[in-house]
């Protein structure tokens, strides 16, 4: 092992420490601290992309090709190409939010807190992506959780934000306690906590019942993180009360971290089901698969049905975010490598769609438009470029062809159909839910492009607020990526498929 392998993570940590140092020295200008944050996120992104083996960047690789995708061993961390794919996703979400936040009013208080915590939260996610030990994984999740509680609370004068942070904290503490108790039971049953000890290297299984209860508690504890139904109730209030940029980060970043944690923890027993069906963890791999499948269907259905009734843009997006988590869970439940590739691609695409959509909501709120969907009436005529970008994001979330959302759902659902049996029903449920979701996205699009603004609404007025260059640029990049990856997903998709096949190869 060498420290150089962790250069991207060190870069993030150094950026955060520099920002806090500037804060102590009284240098708190938004451009300065935001610039440091964007630079360290961008630098880390470049390094991780190089680690993915992109030709032309081989010179700056921090992890040599020989130490990626090694067979599972009893260690704390391991580098996998799928982990790198997720790291790219996390860094993109962080970078989008950091750059867009440069367009905030520069006299706003708390900029150094915001950007510093953003870097530390991203650092935690990066560590999740290389975890090879249950305790390492849960601690990395804690790094992110603790900093996101404070991120939600950083506008300290805003009662709604603090209240959202309080709810987030209570639910987070509950999930932490459940996860660690689950981990302690697995430790009791297997005598170790590395994924090697829990999977292929099972040496001693003292108490099979403990292992089952342990995995059950982990489903609940991690389920809170990915907002899986029935552990979803907190998410909407938190996304609603949090500053919109933070909500963009939560749905694009920290929820995706939960999905990867699901991969790491639950794929072990599910994969063992295929390679060594008589080993003890495999015997409940089947019930685990069933549970996760039910969870996926519940999550997408409940998320979509509740989204239908929302009157506020942010809450509608929050519920749609819950339903998207359901689609991603299909990938874990099916557990074949095309399904994992589909889920990973969906996670990747989600950064552009959902983070982008939340950033648009923040931009529109900056224009002085109210939070209700009907407040957006007639926006299409006033701000055509912004409205078209938002429309692309919603269409992509609904899974309309020529957008990246269509490609990711297509890959995911066809993998579920290929897996036969009970999984076909997961694909059917996903398709029905996609159709259902079109209703509420279409309602928003109708309001924006077809309806006339109410005479009293700010949209009917001159709409003088500014969006800012940085935020406009991020929104444009997200919109272009949605269409670009929708029309030509080839290289990215094949890269993710290869990474997923390696990942499954390691676990078996």
């Amino acid at each position: 092992m060498s420290l150089a392998e962790f250069l991207p993570e060190i870069l993030l940590l150094a950026g955060a420490l520099l920002i806090f140092l500037f804060d102590v020295l009284g240098r708190r200008r938004l451009e300065l601290v935001g610039g440091v944050a964007a630079l360290s996120l961008g630098g880390a992104l470049l390094l991780v992309v190089a680690d993915l083996g992109v030709s032309g960047l081989a010179a700056i690789r921090t992890v040599p090709a020989g130490s990626v995708d090694l067979p599972l061993a009893p260690s704390l961390y391991a580098f996998t190409s799928l982990g790198f794919v997720f790291q790219v996703t996390f860094l993109l979400a962080g970078l989008f939010v950091a750059v867009a936040s440069l367009s905030r009013p520069s006299d706003e208080k708390g900029a150094s807190v915001f950007f510093g915590l953003l870097l530390i939260a991203t650092l935690g996610m990066m560590l999740v992506a290389v975890a090879s030990d249950l305790i390492f994984l849960l601690l990395a999740i804690e790094v992110t959780s603790l900093s996101t509680y404070l991120l939600v609370a950083y506008p300290r004068r805003d009662e709604r934000s603090l209240e959202a942070a309080m709810k987030f904290f209570i639910i987070g503490a509950l999930s932490t306690a459940l996860s660690f108790f689950g981990a302690s039971l697995l430790f009791a049953a297997y005598g170790g906590t590395s994924f090697y000890a829990l999977g292929p290297g099972v040496a001693f299984v003292g108490f099979p019942l403990l292992a089952e209860i342990g995995y059950g508690l982990l489903i609940a504890g991690l389920g809170f993180k990915v907002t899986a139904v029935p552990f979803h109730a907190w998410a909407v209030d938190v996304y609603d009360g949090a500053p919109t940029d933070v909500a963009a980060f939560l749905s694009g970043g920290s929820k995706k971290m939960g999905i990867f944690a699901f991969f790491l923890v639950f794929l072990g027993p599910i994969l063992l089901l295929r390679s060594a069906p008589d080993a003890l963890p495999a015997t409940f791999g089947a019930s685990l698969q069933l549970t996760l499948g039910i969870l996926a269907v519940l999550t997408m259905t409940v998320g979509n049905v509740l989204a239908l009734r929302q009157k506020e843009m942010k809450r509608m997006l929050a519920y749609s975010s819950i339903s998207q988590a359901g689609y991603m869970l299909i990938g874990v439940a099916v557990g074949t490598y095309p399904a994992i590739a589909g889920a990973a691609f969906q996670v990747f695409a989600h950064v552009f769609m959902k983070t982008g959509a939340f950033l648009v909501v923040a931009a529109v709120a900056g224009l002085g438009v109210g939070p209700l969907i009907e407040d957006w009436k007639g926006l299409g005529a006033k701000r055509p470029a912004l409205s078209v970008a938002f429309a692309l994001m919603l269409l992509s979330l609904a899974g309309v062809p020529l957008t990246v959302g269509f490609v990711s759902k297509f890959v995911l659902f066809s993998a579920a159909v290929e897996a036969q049996g009970f999984y076909v029903w997961l694909a059917v449920a996903g398709l029905l839910n996609s159709a259902l979701s079109v209703f509420y996205y279409a309602r928003v699009l109708k309001a924006i492009f077809l309806d006339r603004p109410d005479p009293t609404s700010p949209v009917a007025g001159p709409l003088t607020g500014r969006i800012g260059l940085a935020r406009s640029a991020v929104i444009a990049v997200a919109a272009v990526a949605i269409v670009g990856l929708g029309i030509y997903p080839g290289p990215v998709l094949s890269g993710i498929s290869t990474a997923a096949s390696h990942f499954v190869g390691i676990g078996a």
Partner: protein, 105 residues
């Protein structure tokens, strides 16, 4: 290790977890809620320490190390919770969880 059988220990730690979770879900006072969080996390700590000693193998050390790390984690968790509750108290002059209603609709 004869004082406690695994079943007895699990009953104890399970009861601690249950107490903690019950407290987290029902306590109105944020400080008492933080204490409940502490109890719930300590249930896991207890398990790690006991089963590390119980198995007696090379994993014994790792179990105890995990316990120490978890104690640190619980303290961090409480520090962050206190920061949030201080902010709320400054705004509203109350640390009652049930009075939080700005997001209800």
């Amino acid at each position: 290790m004869s004082a406690f059988s695994p079943a007895g220990l699990l009953a104890l730690s399970g009861a601690l977890l249950g107490l903690g979770l019950f407290g987290i879900l029902t306590r109105r006072n944020f400080i008492l809620l933080l204490i409940s969080v502490e109890i719930a996390i300590n249930a896991a700590v207890l398990n790690f320490v006991y089963f590390a000693a119980f198995s007696g193998s090379s994993s014994a050390l790792s179990g105890q190390a995990i316990a120490v790390v978890l104690i640190g984690l619980a303290a961090t968790e409480v520090a962050v919770g206190l920061a949030i509750v201080l902010g709320l108290n400054r705004l509203r002059g109350s640390i009652n969880v049930a009075e939080a209603s700005a997001l209800r609709r």
